[in-house]
Amino acid sequence: MSPPPFQTFLDRHRDAVYRFLVFSVGSDDADDCLQETFTAALRAYPRLEDGSNLRAWVLTIAHRKAIDSHRGRARRPVPTADLPEKPSPAVTLPDPGLWEAVGKLPPKQRAAVVLRFVSDLPFRQVGRILDISEAAARQNVHEGIANLRKEYADDEL
């Protein structure tokens, strides 16, 4: 199955990618990550032979961009005051404390938790996107939840 026109791909997966990024890197960095994700997707698109699981394909790219973004933020010493204007308004997250705790999880756990609960994907797909087994995906989600309980649940729920 050859991939559909890129516009069709965008219409189908845009919101899912953006949602994954907002909950992985936060609303401030989601726009940059989205741009990098779609630029990388466009570059690879003509060579793509299998158009059957584009959701997993693009979330794999988004996951890598999210990891890069987290690394970049760790290197940035102070948040710059004169950030370029964000093209979109910020998404308001429910339970901001929880998402702050999610942001502090190890990368694989963080991605596994977001993919499982926010993207609502089965463990098999989570594993595929993170390039780990289904069992490892399950393990990462459980460890992530356990860590969140330690970080967050005790004092805030």
């Binding site: 991939p3 890129f6 949602r19 989601a30 741009q35 466009l42 998404v91 308001t92 429910p94 609960f117």
Partner: protein, 211 residues
């Protein structure tokens, strides 16, 4: 107690799935696509142009105007298959086309300055369509005359097929080709549209040149 807390965390995480991101995602995607366009990653830019003959689906490549269709059904799939799957909506890229079409429908433009990308046609069909593109506004010609012009005087029927395959309606004016027997004849967009375009151009349908 422990399980209850676990469920609370999961429930809180799942609330993320219900957050409406549509507006933000759309805005962020538009700016992401604009950036990708600047990097030359869009092979076919498409948009809709509204006109007195209905919404037109237009597509451009770096080579020029490649498609102008009355019916958008399957057009994107066809472009993806025949040119490149990197087909993306980009209203900005279509602004020059939109401007010329507006001028045309307002009666302020008789000839288009747009460059045509002929890659959706080839061979005999392309030869016929390039001849069609040279029929001036205000004039009509017949399938037979066009056949003679491309050096195949007995191929009026094949010329009809070639004209009917026109991927760039209006700008390549296949509506200016009419039957010798009278009337406006067939049109991909329907005869009413053909009549409308010929009236807009004040075409003298009694003089069917070249002869």
């Amino acid at each position: 107690m422990t399980n209850f807390e676990l469920d609370e965390i999961e429930a809180a995480l799942r609330r993320g799935a219900a957050v409406d991101v549509d507006t933000q995602a759309e805005a962020a995607t538009i700016s992401a696509i604009a950036a990708a366009d600047r990097e030359g990653l869009i092979d076919v830019a498409v948009s809709t142009v509204d006109s007195p003959v209905g919404d037109l689906l237009v597509a451009v490549t770096p080579q020029g105007l490649v498609r102008l269709a009355f019916d958008p059904t399957h057009v994107l799939d066809d472009l993806a298959e025949r040119i490149s799957p990197r087909v993306v909506e980009s209203p900005v890229r279509l602004d020059p086309v939109r401007r010329e079409l507006d001028e045309y429908f307002e009666g302020r433009r008789r000839a288009f300055d747009l460059v045509i990308d002929w890659s959706l046609t080839s061979g005999f069909r392309r030869q016929v369509l390039e001849a069609t593109a040279r029929i001036p506004s205000g004039h009509v010609t017949t399938y037979g005359a066009l056949a003679a012009q491309v050096g195949k005087p007995s191929a009026a029927r094949a010329v009809g097929g070639a004209v009917g395959s026109n991927p760039v309606a209006i700008v390549v004016p296949c509506h200016r080709v009419v039957p010798a027997s009278g009337g406006v004849g067939n049109y991909g967009g329907g005869p009413e549209r053909k009549e409308f375009l010929l009236e807009l151009e004040h075409a003298d349908t009694s003089v069917k040149g070249p002869r």
